[in-house]
Amino acid sequence: MAIFQSKNRKNNQILPYLFTSLTWCSGALIILIFIGLIIELCWQGRQAFSVFGFEFITSTTWNPVKQQYSAGVSLIGTLLSSCIGVMLALPLSFGCAYCLSELMPRFIARYMTATIQLLAAIPSIILGMWGFFILVPLMSKYVQPFLKQVFGNVPYVEILFSGGTFGVGILTAGLILAIMITPFITAMMQESFANTPSMLKESAYSLGATKWEVMRHVTLPWVQKGVIGGIVLGWGRALGETMAVTFVIGNAHHAGWSLFTSSNTIASLIALEFSESTAGSLKMSSLMALGAVLMMISFIVLFCSQLLLKQVLKSR
């Protein structure tokens, strides 16, 4: 392409070079930032990794008095809260996407889509605030006692719903995350559904299939990968969410079976403890190492989601 071989032209020798080099630089900048992000976090966390070794991931102690740090509790909290978020978001977003792309008249659906997408635009700190002031009292007064009553006597399940009903905890954090990622997954699903060839759908309708059967047997198999990719991408977003979670998770270093216990996520732990740690201390290094762990997890998750979505784009 001529833009990168413009030295052949005799006039305007400088401008083409300038533009070409500038575009190359900003392209390279994206890679540099990304790689720098990974390397710097690992480098700053090297002290923690070398002191604690593999125990940093597996152990669950976080004891500033004894200078023992590990990622265990916050890792479990991160994975658990985001998984709850995805599990709750899945039916919600599927229902919304089904409703918006198949059931509603086109012109209403357009406005509804825009409305649901407004939810995605609300900054996470505001969701956190809403969660803290509106959702937490609701959870502690109604939802958690109700769950405790229903599942309290079921063997094995009761352990999930034991403990005090204070409103904060992993379940509430999962709920907030679900609200955050639902519009996102909905948009992905809607886009995937729209990509199904209408010929396939119409031939199923002509055979007398109901709307649900078309969705279940025609559209969903066709867009499988796109939908999964969207869900995984939503999961990736939920993993690193900081502000909304910090408000409602309770910020405690416990890992318990109960969904009502306060816990911690990597992101919220970093946000809380960071300003407290001396530069160069083991604690600071541990926090950076936590960041590196979070980066690794989200890297893997996002990588998978992009791969899945890439295949969908290719098949279009």
């Binding site: 630089c25 700190i125 809403w130 055979l207 007398g208 649900w212």
Partner: protein
């Protein structure tokens, strides 16, 4: 499968059949989920308006934040947010547009594909990690500053702008490219003076969406611009911003501060939602224009 469907359709009591009921149930389920999401949105917005509107006065908008117990406003966080988001936009827009041009025009398809892949991933990288990164790079060397905060926000906005610019450039008809070449213009002139102006709708939409995304970000500002209870024009000093004030005030137990936090939240939400609506309307208009052509 078609056999299965035909067999099912053969059932005379079709209206009472399980298929029909299942279809109904799924329809109800879908509308219920949509209703839940709408309820949540309405709940958030009404709470914001009810709690935030009472504090939205002339006094709040034109007075500095004050210590607990004294009457205070939100002037310095508002201005701080405007300055930091503006600075971030100034940094991110040129770099993002150039990056988008690179993605669209790079001759090495493998390279551009991998950068595109990375840019897509960067859009979802936890924002707190970007805050950490900027802390390591900038704050460790030159202290807390509004500039560091703006850099963190710019890193968040960069991939969004780059990707939307690229998509907008790819939408530009080949005929426009070729018309430029036919006039004897070199490639860079065609790209920057013909294609980019033709794609400006998409680019502007991308910029608006990027701004609306970074305006409400808190996590990257936490370790970079620190917050400031007073006003400072110096971008190399700590600076206040609305999200940080919300983070600080919402956790206090003081009713006045909580009210101020709601007001700040209302301001950010109005700003972000307006930007989103403008971007969306803009997209819709352009789509209509394209269809009429």
């Amino acid at each position: 499968m078609s056999q299965k469907l035909q067999k099912l359709h053969g059932n005379k009591n079709y209206l009472l059949s399980w298929r029909f009921i299942k279809n109904r149930l799924m329809t109800i389920f879908a509308f219920v989920t949509l209703g839940i999401m709408l309820c949540i949105l309405v709940s958030i917005l009404t709470n914001l308006i009810i709690n935030g509107f009472s504090g939205l006065s002339f006094f709040t908008l034109f007075h500095m934040t004050a210590p607990q117990g004294l009457p205070g406003g939100l002037l310095n966080p508002i201005l701080g947010s405007i300055i930091q988001v503006g600075l971030a936009t100034l940094i991110a827009v040129p770099l993002g547009i150039l990056g988008g041009v690179f993605l669209a025009e790079c001759p090495n398809k493998k390279l551009s594909a991998s950068i595109r892949f990375i840019a897509d991933m960067m859009m979802s990288v936890p924002s707190i990690l970007i805050g950490l990164f900027v802390y390591i790079i900038l704050v460790m060397t030159m202290g807390y500053s509004a500039f560091a905060g703006a850099c963190a926000l710019a890193i968040l906005a960069l991939p969004v702008i780059a990707r939307t610019t690229e998509e907008a450039l790819n939408m530009v008809p080949v005929a426009i490219h070729e018309a430029g070449f036919a006039l004897g213009a070199p490639k860079w002139k065609v790209v920057f003076l013909v294609c980019l102006p033709a794609a400006r709708g998409g680019v502007i939409t991308g910029i608006l969406l990027a701004i609306s995304r970074i305006a409400g970000e808190t996590a990257p500002l936490l370790f970079t611009s620190l917050g400031n209870s007073d006003w400072s024009w110096n971008i190399f000093k700590p600076m206040a911003s609305l999200p940080l004030v919300i983070y600080q005030y919402a956790d206090s137990a003081d009713d006045i501060w909580i009210n101020l936090a709601w007001t700040a939240a209302l301001l950010i939400t109005i700003f972000v939602l307006c930007l989103n609506l403008i971007a969306r309307i803009y997209v819709d208009r352009r789509r209509k224009k394209d269809q009429s052509l």
